[in-house]
Symmetry: C2
Subunit: 325 residues, 2 copies
């Protein structure tokens, strides 16, 4: 990594982590993060902070926090003076797995998650395992669901190791080698297709349904579904579709269903949310079709099938399966 003028370095961090940070000479902007805050207005606060400190194009922004923080920090860096360097220090398991690799940045807009953003990778990502010890189990479970997705894409070796991990004990030291392997799998997929023109869409497994569930939970005013929980419900729905449409074995579907029942809990959905769910899936930014829903499905563990078109009727049947569990 190149050397930066110390006067040209700024930090943006989740404000609830400020007391955990070491003392620093760099200016620090604390951001109070809730998903509802992942907005252009918050990005503008980061821009204003960079302007205040006279950060030039050769400056550096260090982003410390979960995925929402690094997504916004990355987007601010991507667009401030047409782009400055940034480093991510992910502090949640989800951010380590999902947001720290791949260069996706962005904000929610118009009621749609990450609908405004850029592909703009950080110049570096620092993984500090100690952050994992600060997390409540809900957040570890949320990140673990993304790891399960990565395992499903990678193949039975990694997926089996993940299933063997003891979610009841949740030993973070035993988790780190699995984290590293998941990041390696993601990096391989992203580097082969940085702009998500084709195979990178494999990473979307579980997310077409998951994003829609997450958004409905947010807009319905109740507590927001944690991203990884939504992804797990999405994986179950999409594994069901994979079994019905492509003969994917039902074993991984059953294994995830068991994990869900034991650790994550079932999901509730009001009938009145159904139309909104389908509408959101149609509008997903990865969807290139106006009527059907574009999903990544599996032929088998380790065999992603991108750009599969699902009719609203098929999706409704799969959602029936999820909601009946």
């Amino acid at each position: 990594m190149k050397n930066y003028d110390p006067a040209q370095i700024c930090v943006v961090a989740d404000s609830k982590l400020l007391s955990l940070l070491p003392e620093t000479e760099y200016p620090v902007l604390g951001i109070d993060i809730r998903e509802a805050d992942k907005s252009l207005e918050t990005v503008a606060r980061i821009w204003d902070f960079l302007f205040e400190h006279d950060i030039t194009r050769s400056g550096l922004l260090i982003c410390i926090g979960g995925g929402a923080l690094t997504d916004m920090g990355g987007f601010a860096a991507a667009t401030y003076k047409r782009g400055i360097d940034y480093i991510n220090i992910p502090t949640t398991l989800l951010a380590m797995i999902d947001a720290s690799v791949g260069g996706k940045t962005g904000v929610n807009y118009n009621g749609l998650k990450n609908s405004i953003g850029a592909f703009y990778p950080p110049v570096g990502t620092l993984l500090c395992p100690d952050w994992l010890k600060t997390l409540p189990s809900e957040q570890l479970l949320s990140g673990f669901a993304e790891m399960l997705k990565t395992g499903l894409l990678s193949g039975s070796a990694l997926f089996t190791r993940l299933l063997q991990y003891d979610l009841a004990a949740m030993d973070t030291d035993a988790l780190m080698p699995l984290v590293t392997d998941c990041i390696r799998v993601k990096r391989r997929i992203v580097e082969a297709d940085p702009q998500e023109k084709g195979q990178r869409k494999a990473l979307n497994l579980g997310h077409t349904v998951g994003h829609a569930l997450e958004e409905v939970s947010i807009t319905s005013g109740g507590p927001a579904l944690p991203h990884g929980y939504a992804v797990l419900y999405g994986l179950i729905t999409e594994l069901y579709l994979s079994a019905v449409k492509f003969g994917c074995p039902r074993e991984p579907l059953q294994q995830l269903t068991d994990l869900m029942i034991h650790y994550y809990g079932r999901i509730q959905c009001k009938c009145s949310d159904r139309d909104r769910l389908l509408e959101l899936m149609r509008q997903d930014k990865k969807n290139e079709h106006a009527t059907d829903i574009n999903c990544t499905l599996l032929g088998d563990v380790g065999q992603p099938l991108v750009n599969q078109l699902i009719s609203p009727d098929e999706m409704n049947e799969a959602l029936d399966y999820l909601f009946s569990l």
Copy 2:
């Protein structure tokens, strides 16, 4: 260029050009352009328009207008769903020369020109010479100043041909071969350094001073200085610095001064604007230094010197020259 689904194509155009466009099956968003409108709010209108028409990541945005329109359309395309394709159809001489090549997109923010944006090139640019016949002479003169800058960077052959062009007659047919040659020069510079890490800064000749003059004219509430006029005044100021600091011959300085007096008119500046001018130059996004001003200067015609540091005193002396003409 790839084929686009006709249902996935949208047009954004300067609203005063709508009556000149051929009938089209594509949805058209008209934008009333004034420099003050080159804002994030206007970009959001383009995003909203794309959402309304269910444009997916494989969609296409066609931008028809001057540089302000194509800068905003390009930035909207760069950030909508993390980036969709766009095509520029520049309708002013300035946009043909300056905005159509190089992939710079952006908006004004925080009182600073183009301070938020992205490097995101269009998939294509369509040059239609007939647009030039629709332009008032002020706009042709404005674009011609950018051509003079390109000539100064390229070498005496192109610069001499530009000086021989008859600005009084302003024959647009005779202008087109010069336009094409200027675009070729710019493309060569941009392709060697797309992210503006080094040599591309040569294109900034005249712009450190020019941008500051333009902004002061806007914020002072009077009529905005046309961009190219500001660039010509900037070129004169920076050629003066080039002569004083690097022994650049005074002939091109005199030639531009003569053109200015005959065709563009002198520039007025209130003493109270001086501090603001220097402050703006320091904050220019290409400036990487906090106290001095970073400029591109010339050792001679065809010999750009990027990243030259100018002290506030030196800049004041050069501005004295400009304002005394």
